[in-house]
């Protein structure tokens, strides 16, 4: 790592952490049950939206009704997005005259955007009309993030409430998350990004002559500049931990991410809400230290992995030795492994982004992970496999981490022989069963999915690279979709019926089975009475608990995935040392 690499990493973490409390406090106002200055200010707009939609936000829902309503809302969004894609050819706002999207691709994309995964088996610039971008993809960018926040709010109420039968009103939670948090932040970020050069228009693509006319007649003498409403989608794509690119190259595309400053803002937006929600959580459960402890556990895993990824990429690619290439960092170049990276971002911003986007379940990329060094590419793979709880998705990262916290206090309870408690609630067999399912379902989907794909010719058909790296491509695809991340080792050709259907199913199960499990925990916790702290209570805001939590996350991840990782990136790394 160079001195500037370190400086940019430190600056990023400092700005992120400085924003945790202000945004966390703002969100705790937005989601407060008691009226306050913010919600009074927004009340007229809220009421208008509720009246327009004809939903009743005063009635409390038990966990089953909350779950059914949330699943219905998501299913409706998924179906709408599917229909929009299929019908876009006959709908307006399609200046490039793109036809309706193929059924298997449209299914995959609808599940992908509704489930906050934003895995993309298609190339944006030649597949989606502007109308689909606006009314379909942008909308699901918002609503899938709002869904994550809604589930988190329900779980928080589970801890707050005593002997209660209900966990809130889902329509109010979805609307407030959208109106108070996601919309205003997106509007600010979209304009900031436009100032840097992210495009925002509804023009048709522009064909221009190339400066150097090609030597042969057959070569293209012109270039097409793609256009479109990019900034509005880019902003919520990052803030909502979505990650689906307007263009195929995602945030490596200069029209999505034109400058180092736009890159910094987008990278900040990736972790901003998940980090700040830790503070909101602490505030809402009545003990801010609890939120800081969860954030600390996330940072303990994040920082070393970021450093490892930057160092691996900065060291360059040994396979290019002996050709007369200068891979050393200097005042005149970033050096390092520059295959699949942009000059303006260099090594540190590409590797740091890769770490942030897979720590959060964002999945947008500003560099091509498939071309990372074996160990540099191991970092994003591992972060996804840890269950997307190191920051994780908006809402979903924190509720996933809370499932791990439940497991951790349960293990601690077994060790000292007492009934485990967390935040004043007894953790019993039911919560423990649900938390285990939440932790283990994505693991099972990754392992079983990868095994099936590797065994079937249709799964092996699309490999973009030979050997151990090819296996890593498949492992990455299932790790990404089963944890609702959405980034890819993009050499694998996944726009096939086999991958569109299997990965679509994996994304759906991973997202919604976990939501049902977490809401079941929320319902069970809300019904319990409060247990006062006693001498036997394990405090959950201490460094000891942070270590216990981090260990739980790492042990589950390592036990599940080490064999698979050994066959992929570890084998590739060892073979490149041997050669």
């Amino acid at each position: 790592m160079t001195a500037n690499d370190t400086l940019q990493l430190v600056l990023y973490l400092a700005v992120l952490l400085a924003l945790v409390k202000p945004l966390g406090a703002y969100m705790s106002l937005a989601f407060a049950e008691q009226p306050n200055a913010l919600t009074r200010f927004g009340a007229p707009i809220e009421r208008a939206l509720y009246r327009l939609a004809g939903v009743h936000v005063d009635e409390e829902m038990d966990w089953r009704r909350y779950t059914v309503a949330l699943l219905a809302f998501n299913l409706a969004g998924l179906v709408l997005l599917y229909l929009l894609q299929r019908a876009q050819g006959v709908l307006p706002l399609d200046p490039a005259h793109l036809p309706g999207v193929r059924a298997d691709t449209a299914f995959n994309t609808a599940v992908s955007f509704a489930s906050n995964t934003n895995w993309q088996s298609y190339a944006g610039e030649t597949t989606m009309s502007y109308l689909t971008d606006l009314l379909g993809l942008t909308v699901q960018n918002f609503l899938s993030a709002a869904t994550g926040i809604a589930v988190l709010l329900a779980v928080i109420r589970g801890f707050r409430r005593r002997n209660a039968a209900t966990i809130g009103n889902v329509w109010a939670d979805l609307t407030r998350a959208t109106l108070y948090v996601l919309l205003p932040l997106s509007l600010l970020l979209a304009l900031a990004l436009t100032s840097q050069g992210v495009i925002q228009n509804l023009h048709a693509n522009l064909r221009i002559p190339l400066l150097q006319a090609p030597a042969t007649v057959s070569a293209a003498a012109t270039q097409v500049l793609p256009m479109g409403p990019v900034a509005s989608q880019e902003a919520i794509k990052q803030l909502g931990t979505n990650g689906g690119g307007f263009f195929n190259a995602n945030s490596a595309h200069p029209f999505e991410n034109p400058t180092p400053l736009s890159n910094f803002l987008e990278m900040l937006a990736i972790l901003l809400i998940p980090a700040a929600l830790c503070w909101t959580f602490g505030e809402m459960v009545g003990d801010r230290r609890q939120g800081w402890a969860l954030l600390a556990a996330m940072l303990v895993i994040f920082v070393p992995l970021a450093v490892g990824c930057i160092a691996a990429e900065q060291a360059g690619n040994p396979a290019l030795h002996g050709l007369g290439i200068d891979q050393h960092a200097s005042a005149l170049q970033a050096g390092g492994n520059m295959e699949g990276k942009e000059t303006r971002f260099g090594i540190v911003n590409s590797a740091l982004w890769a770490t942030a986007t897979t720590a959060a379940s964002n999945g947008s990329v500003n560099a091509m992970h498939d071309s990372f060094t074996p160990l540099g590419g191991l970092v994003p793979l591992v972060l996804m496999q840890l269950g997307e709880v190191i920051f994780g998705g908006v809402g979903s990262g924190l509720y996933g981490m809370l499932a791990f916290a439940v497991v951790a206090v349960f293990i601690a309870g077994l060790m000292v022989g007492r009934t485990p408690e967390y935040l004043g609630k007894k953790i019993e067999a039911y919560e423990m069963k649900m938390a285990s399912l939440v932790v283990l379902i994505p693991c099972a989907l990754v392992i079983v999915g990868t095994a099936v794909a590797v065994l079937l010719p249709a799964g092996r058909a699309g490999l973009g690279n030979p050997g151990a790296h090819g296996f890593s491509e498949i492992l990455y695809a299932f790790s990404s979709t089963a944890n609702n991340n959405g980034s890819a080792f993009a050499g694998l050709s996944v726009n096939t019926p086999f991958y569109n259907f299997t990965l679509g199913a994996v994304m759906y199960l991973a997202r919604y089975l976990l939501i049902v499990g977490m809401l079941a925990i929320a319902g069970a916790l809300a019904a319990k009475k409060h247990v006062p702290e006693s001498a036997g209570t394990l405090p959950t805001h201490t460094p000891l608990f942070v270590v216990l939590l981090v260990s739980t996350v790492l042990v589950v991840g390592a036990l599940t995935f080490l064999p698979a990782l050994a066959l992929g990136p570890i084998a590739e790394s060892l073979s490149s040392v041997v050669h």
């Binding site: 400086l7 939609a53 219905a72 409706a76 610039e125 009314l135 379909g136 942008t138 909308v139 609503l143 959208t178 919309l183 304009l191 436009t194 100032s195 050069g197 495009i199 228009n201 522009l206 221009i208 190339l210 400066l211 150097q212 090609p214 270039q223 097409v224 500049l225 793609p226 263009f247 195929n248 190259a249 490596a252 200069p254 029209f255 180092p260 400053l261 396979a319 007369g324 290439i325 891979q327 005042a331 005149l332 050096g335 520059m338 295959e339 699949g340 942009e342 000059t343 971002f345 260099g346 911003n349 500003n366 091509m368 498939d370 071309s371 990372f372 074996p374 973009g464 050499g491 590739e572």
Partner: protein, 199 residues
């Protein structure tokens, strides 16, 4: 038949979906479009380099160059043609894939053929494909490596070419962010004496 609780919730779900779709899918992006077109019209429309009625390119989108008289951009792995604006993306070649080493060797051979006698090690960005396939920049090292070739091909003093490189170079933004870089299209337009009107 659907279970009845789902049926009960589906109607309000659908209505709220439609209302929030209008808010986030229509009101929000159109508001951003309107504000962007007023506040940052040049950026919102693609940072185009315009001379009179002619669009010379976008400052943000790289173009392919193979003439020794021009500075060459990063290699591009886009489909059908390099720097294809409708097929952004990288090579996705894995680090140990023999095809990656072969591609680098080919690019070195092309650079050396255009500049015989230049035995300096080649800066890595000139022989590796960018992530977008549209990278508008090369590193200052990549520009310095090509300066003598361009000066010779154009019959210009080296110092003049170096001055044009310096004029097309952006240092780290705000002093820390990103990497120093040279905009290739801007530099080549300066060489052609066509960089007058633009930002």
């Amino acid at each position: 038949m659907m279970p009845s609780p789902l049926r009960t919730e589906l109607a309000p779900a659908l209505r709220l979906l439609l209302v929030l779709t209008l808010l986030t899918g229509l009101v929000y992006p159109l508001a951003v479009t309107g504000l962007a077109q007023v506040l940052f019209p040049r950026q919102a429309n693609g940072s185009l380099i315009v001379h009179g009625d002619t669009i010379l390119g976008s400052r943000l989108i790289g173009q392919p160059f193979r003439d020794p008289r021009y500075f060459w951009s990063r290699p591009s792995a886009t489909a059908n043609a390099p720097d294809n604006g409708l097929a952004s993306g990288g090579s996705n070649l894995g680090p140990t894939n023999p095809a990656l080493r072969a591609a680098a060797a080919r690019r070195i051979a092309a650079l050396r053929a255009a500049d015989p006698g230049n035995t300096a090690p080649v800066p890595v960005d000139l022989v590796t494909a960018s992530a977008s396939g549209l990278d508008p920049d090369i590193s200052p090292a990549g520009a310095a490596y090509q300066a003598a070739r361009v000066a010779r091909a154009r019959g210009l003093p080296l110092g003049r070419v170096q001055a044009l490189i310096a004029a097309s170079t952006r240092s780290r933004q705000l002093g820390v962010l990103g990497e120093p870089r040279v905009n290739v299209l801007e530099l080549n337009l300066r060489l052609d004496g066509r960089w007058h009107t633009s930002p």
